[in-house]
């Protein structure tokens, strides 16, 4: 049975690192899904929601719901954007009798991409090999809102030659926090500085995570301090695209 899934690309992947979106498509197709990219999508509205700008958050949520509701399932290569749709859309429309059921319906069929591949498709990468030592950072929204923890690790285990170095404080926030990192850059820097030190201390070649925002924050700090650790979204490796340029490397 072929599943038709809609890919919600996320604004950050669209703008900064399209190959994460293509990696998601590749892995989903390998898992037997037919992937469509709905035209009406832009951003889930999280920046507005987290800034207290409820009106814009509601408007963008409605636009996103309309774009995604025709599909059987919605897959997102980001724990925090998937968390916004799954957990916060229904909250936004708590007192809206018309939109609440629509928000709940979309929320109920929206998945973070690695959780979807692992839990819904029961899929594992086949014939993927990468000789490297990686460490994994659990991005907060995915971890705490969606329970993303074991799924990426189970998928990554299917990659031949990839082995892991545990990251001290793997569940500790990297200090990204969306608009937080630009509103309070000095605090954010102190947090990501410690994170970068912990990543370096693992001796890993690769830093993996499931959220581009956190990855850009950590990779940007690692690069500034002259670290050799290269950063990827985990789905890139899972889709067999771990041999390409890491974040911040020219193609």
């Amino acid at each position: 049975m072929t599943r038709t899934v809609a890919l919600f690309v996320t604004c950050l992947v669209d703008l900064m690192r399209p190959r994460i979106g293509f990696a998601a498509i590749r892995a989903l197709e390998a898992a037997g899904c037919e992937v469509v990219v709905p035209e009406g999508q832009t951003c889930c509205g999280q920046p507005a929601l987290n800034s207290g700008d409820r009106d814009h958050a509601v408007a963008l949520a409605k636009q996103t719901i309309e774009a995604l509701e025709p599909y059987e399932a919605v897959v997102v290569p980001s724990g925090s954007c998937a968390g916004t749709i799954r957990c916060h859309y229904p909250e936004l429309f708590e007192h809206d009798a018309v939109w609440l059921p629509r928000a709940q319906a979309v929320a109920g069929k929206t998945f973070e991409v690695m959780a979807y591949l692992d839990e819904v498709c029961g899929w594992r990468p086949e014939g993927v090999a990468l000789d490297a030592k990686a460490t994994y950072h659990d991005s907060c929204s995915g971890l705490r809102e969606l329970g993303i923890k074991a799924q990426p690790r189970r998928l990554l285990k299917g990659i031949d030659g990839l082995h892991f170095a545990p990251l001290k404080g793997e569940e500790t926030c990297c200090g990204f926090g969306g608009t937080f990192c630009v509103k309070y850059p000095a605090i954010s820097n102190a947090i990501v500085g410690e994170k970068a030190d912990a990543i370096d201390a693992t001796g890993a070649d690769l830093l993996l995570a499931g959220d581009l925002g956190c990855l850009m924050n950590m990779a940007g700090k690692l690069n500034r301090k002259g670290s050799k650790v290269r950063a990827f979204h985990a789905i890139e490796l899972i889709a067999g695209m771990g041999d390409g340029p890491a974040i911040g490397e020219e193609a």
Binding site: R19, E145, C173, P185, A186, S188, G220, E249
Partner: protein
């Protein structure tokens, strides 16, 4: 806290804290130890998650029926011989305490650490009234000698190093320690405080719990300073927030199990005492008068205005011990009585949102605080509530409002958005070298400290469309 810090903005205070490496070490030592010990205690407990559900349910039940439970508590406390007072505001509460002290002819009071006392400004009110105050909790004693404010609700002096404490004690104690060890310093405080506690006219405490069906008030300490402050004086005054009620002792027992484990990782505090009224006929010790001041100070308003869940808080400090922001800036930078995530929710209630709007924003919404909260307070949700209110009331900076408004306006027009993002990646392409951008206009906060990866030459949507056409 010095005047300079008081008038500084949140960002200035945070910058000062970030520059203070000694502070960072001090915070890390205490909060880091607390984090580790809590994890061990929680793992050893049979079903901590179910216990958190129960604790939250107990508090929600109380908050839903708060009026009735307060009346029940009041009746039982009066029956046990205590006098019960009510205060709507911080000033009113302080006035009641000062009046009781004056009526008792008090020259000195011994105070056992109470965050509510700090919240209502009791130390300051006592000073204004000319009443001598001895803080008996070791950390509060350090804070008093240094003329500062607490930086943590469990370890008020966590920002002080041993060297700083040693210097303070040597300057202020009558027979200070000679050996430079923490044990010797604690011994110096013991010598200094003991006679002062025994000579106090009034003992003042907070309450960790108010037991509705007995009229008892409960204090917990590890030092035993509460008992030594409250048993010898002739008068015992309790100031307690009205949310401290639990229906009965078994309810209190459940909450105590949660409190100790969440705060310090212990199974129980060393001293847990339930005081029901004053000294009885024939008793050898105990106060002749017991006064209980029930303080609202914004709590009924919190209950009415969407912050009822915050009234579950049992002041364990786990949220701040596990907060990445607190761990970097410590407690004083928050500028209120209560620091960390719980403080960021509470401070706007006491100080006004205009003064404290930064606190809700200076949070990454990572959810760790909620994960460790023994009463499952949805702290990130409550902080987002303050952000929303701040936005609604126009307190957010204009640049932020315009920037976000413009972005949202474009994001609601997918065709225009595609055009805009296409232009944006091309512009960023030009700024980058070797894959990274080290200075980015409008994102100086980012590139001051870290590099920005250069985006791909085309957006996902552009590339995807091109592929589909082929």
């Amino acid at each position: 806290m010095s005047g300079a810090v008081d008038t500084a903005t949140f960002k200035e205070r945070a910058d000062m804290a970030l520059a203070d490496r000694i502070l960072k070490v001090a915070v890390e030592r205490t909060a880091g130890t607390a984090e580790t010990k809590r994890a061990v205690a929680v793992d050893a407990f049979p079903d901590f998650e179910a216990a958190r559900d129960r604790a939250a349910a107990i508090k929600d039940h109380v908050v839903a029926h708060l009026g009735a439970y307060l009346e029940e508590f009041e009746a039982n406390a009066i029956a046990a011989g205590a006098k019960v007072h009510w205060a709507s505001t911080a000033d009113e509460a302080c006035r009641i305490v000062i009046d009781i002290c004056k009526a008792a002819g008090a020259k000195s009071v011994a105070r056992s650490k109470s965050m509510l006392g700090e919240e209502i400004g009791l130390p300051h009110a006592l000073a204004e009234a000319g009443i001598g105050r001895v803080e008996t909790d070791l950390a509060e004693h350090i804070i008093q000698l240094a003329d500062e404010r607490p930086s943590h609700i469990i370890w008020p002096a966590m920002h002080k190093t041993r060297e700083q404490v040693s210097a303070l004690f040597k300057a202020k104690h009558r027979s200070p320690h000679e050996e430079e060890t923490i044990a010797a310093m604690a011994e110096s405080a013991r010598r200094e405080l003991r006679t002062q506690m025994l000579g106090a006219d009034v003992g003042i405490s907070g309450a960790n719990f108010l037991i509705a069906d007995t009229g008892a008030i409960c204090t917990v300490t590890n030092e035993g300073n509460a008992e030594l402050s409250l048993v010898p004086p002739r008068v015992h005054i309790v100031t307690a927030g009205i949310e401290k009620i639990v229906p009965s002792m078994p309810h209190a027992i459940h909450m105590l199990r949660m409190l100790a484990r969440s705060a310090t990782g212990a199974a129980l505090t060393q001293y847990t005492t339930f005081y029901t009224g004053p000294k009885r006929a024939g008793d050898r010790d105990g106060p002749e008068e017991m006064h209980i001041v029930l303080v609202d100070n914004g709590r009924t308003k919190m209950r009415e205005e969407g912050l009822a869940e915050m009234l579950r808080c049992i002041r364990c400090g786990a949220c701040m011990n596990h907060c990445v922001v607190f761990r970097q800036i410590g407690g004083h930078a928050y500028g209120g009585t209560y620091p960390g995530p719980m403080g960021a929710v509470l401070t706007p209630v006491f100080d006004g949102l205009k003064q404290s709007r930064d606190l809700a924003s200076a949070c990454t919404l990572n959810g760790k605080c909620q994960e460790v909260c023994p009463v499952r307070i949805p702290l990130p949700t409550l902080l987002k509530g303050w952000r929303e209110k701040s936005w609604r009331e126009g307190l957010e900076p204009t640049s932020m409002r315009w920037g976000l408004g413009l972005w949202a306006w474009v994001a609601r027009r997918p065709a225009l958005y595609r055009l805009g993002t296409g232009v944006a990646v091309r512009a960023m392409q030009m700024l980058g070298k070797k894959g990274w951008i080290d200075r980015l206009p409008l994102a100086g906060g980012w590139t001051r400290y870290r590099d920005m990866p250069k985006p791909a030459p085309q957006t996902f949507m552009e590339q995807y469309r091109k592929e589909r056409r082929q």
